[in-house]
Amino acid sequence: MTRPARPAIGYWTGFAIVLALLLATPLVLPEFWQRFVTEILIWGLLAMSSDILIGYTGMVSFGHSAFFGLGMYGAAAALLTIRPPSLWLTIIYGLVGAGLVAVFVAYFSTRLRDIYFAITTLVFSQIFYVIIFTWTEVTGGENGLTFRQPPFSIPGVLSVPFTRDGFHWFIVAVVTASYLVLRRVMQSPFGKVLQAIRENEPRTRAIGYHVERYKIVAVMLSGLFAGLAGVLYAVQNKFTAPDFVFFLISGEVVIFNVMGGMGTLVGPVAGAAFFLVLREGLSRFWTEYYLIPVGLIFTAMVIFMPQGLLGFLKRRLNQ
């Protein structure tokens, strides 16, 4: 393999431009669209976490709604029980919640393949959905929980409530940092092994890699970042609901991955943006039936454009 001659410049320029645009949105866009962009970023983070499993390791999981949901409810637990509300503890609670689920899923990932893994993760999401939906005393049942947004705090130094713009920049920072971390990990030898597992698992095993261990780490990583997305969503919207744990959310995440381009990390973010914009736009005309054209577009893309919107950039984005 030849060493590519500094592809970095083009890539980092693009990166800088996108980052600048994202940071500028509070100054430019009206409030509705501002929040929209922030939400796209959060869903983008969720989609990125799913890409680790689907795009890089080749494990289709319909369980991300469980990670996301438990991140949300973990955050809710922190925000409802801890006085004064602490942003960082909220994040930790959320990550712990998601992490516990991830441990279970990780165990199954080592024993099941393909469709069996997919269905089992789907069932996992539903187990949590049913528990959360019916355990009304603790989880608020159907109606979910509401709470207040914690202030942005650096422990011991300052504590200032989020402004709309401030919160947006916080999200941009978190999502960007997550992206950079994940990118670094995927480009490392570890990430390369994951991709090898996707390409040809038996061969990777035969070469001598403990495929099980890699899968476990991949699931934990994926679950934690998905949980983080859940925490951010809870903090942004100040409520949680069982709907987010329903397996259809996992389905939407998979749609983001496929539409945007699997195995690229940014692709799924673009996929989330594409889907959410389509939904916003189409629901103007089609109201609640927007899923008919969106579903058709998605199905057509699966058949004709399986590499997704950014799939053609896959190699360059992964260098």
Binding site: I54, V60, F108, R111, L112, D114, I115, Y116, A118, I119, T120, L122, V123, Q126, I127, V130, I131, F133, T134, F247, L248, G251, V254, I255, V258, E288, Y289, Y290, L291, I292, V294, G295, L296, F298, T299, V302, I303, P306
Partner: protein, 290 residues
């Protein structure tokens, strides 16, 4: 235990009845999977559409039987067309793709139903009313009829597959698609027909279920999920296994709902799935794990 015997009895019969409906749905799903490796995420939506078509036909004609036939035939046709157009290009691609494609289709079908029939539930009028004496209890005739009809349809499928030229074609294609083609069997047609049969059976389930639970556009995901669990527990591609698994799981859920609410009883099926995946991943009713 403290649970009255008559409740256990009723739940046993309920479990059997629900099990037969579920078996009808799952047989179609496992048949489709066995022959073309397609995990049909939209299968529940086919049940739902069958229910709606049945409801509309029943309203127009007043006959449950015509409604049943109309729903089955309509969805069989839709299914065959769906396979021939959307799924055929995906043959041979990795299984993730068909899961996604059928998932996309399920979204479209679900919202289409919302568009055509609105958000409220349709109830179907059962063809025979009245109850009979089950030991010292009263049990609705219609429920028994449902189980009998479902069993009859599955039985008809079994006979069709076992005897007759087309049954041989279907079984040969399921075992070795390439060699079936080499023998001149028109495999593309067989695949479309089998998908149609699966869809027709799903639609019939929807109509049979109509009087019991009503038809809403969200019932699809529930059926899809349960059917998946049945097919995995029964052994994918294993027709007999799916039927046994459907009855087994429905009975467990029926008994569970004596103790917890029905919404929570569904967790019992989930737990069974997870246990089966841990200990007998190829299926509970498969003779020997490979």
């Amino acid at each position: 235990m403290g649970i009255p015997f008559d409740q256990i009895l009723i739940q046993t019969v309920n479990g059997l009845v629900n099990g037969m409906i579920l078996a009808l749905v799952a047989s179609g799903l496992t048949l489709i999977f066995g022959i073309m490796d397609v995990v049909n995420f939209a299968h529940g939506e086919l049940v739902m559409l069958g229910g709606f078509v049945g409801a509309t036909t029943l309203a127009m004609t007043g006959s449950f039987w015509i409604a049943l036939a109309a729903a089955a035939l309509t969805l069989a046709l839709i299914g065959a067309v769906l396979q021939a157009t959307v799924l055929r290009p995906l043959l041979g691609r990795d299984p993730l793709t068909t899961i996604l494609a059928t998932f996309g289709i399920s979204l479209v079908l679900q919202k289409y139903a919302l568009w055509q029939w609105g958000p409220s539930a349709r109830k179907l009028q059962e063809p025979i009313t009245g109850q009979f004496d089950l030991f010292y209890l009263e049990y609705p005739w219609y429920r028994v009829l449902t189980a009998v009809l479902a069993a009859a349809i599955i039985g008809a499928l079994y006979l069709f597959l076992r005897f007759g030229k087309y049954g041989i074609w279907i079984r040969a294609t399921t075992q070795d698609r390439v060699m079936a083609q080499a023998m001149g069997i028109p495999v593309p047609v067989v695949l479309a027909v089998v998908f149609g049969i699966g869809a027709g059976m799903a639609a019939a389930s929807g109509v049979l279920f109509g009087p019991l639970g009503g038809v809403t556009q969200t019932m699809g995901s529930d059926f899809t999920l349960r059917a998946f669990i049945v097919v995995v527990v029964g052994g994918m591609g294993n027709l007999g296994g799916s039927i046994l698994a459907a009855i087994f799981l429905s009975l467990i859920e029926a008994y569970a709902s004596l103790v917890v609410s029905p919404a929570q009883a569904v967790i019992a099926s989930f737990v069974v799935l997870i246990l089966v995946q841990l200990f007998r991943p190829t299926g509970l009713f498969v003779p020997t794990p490979k």
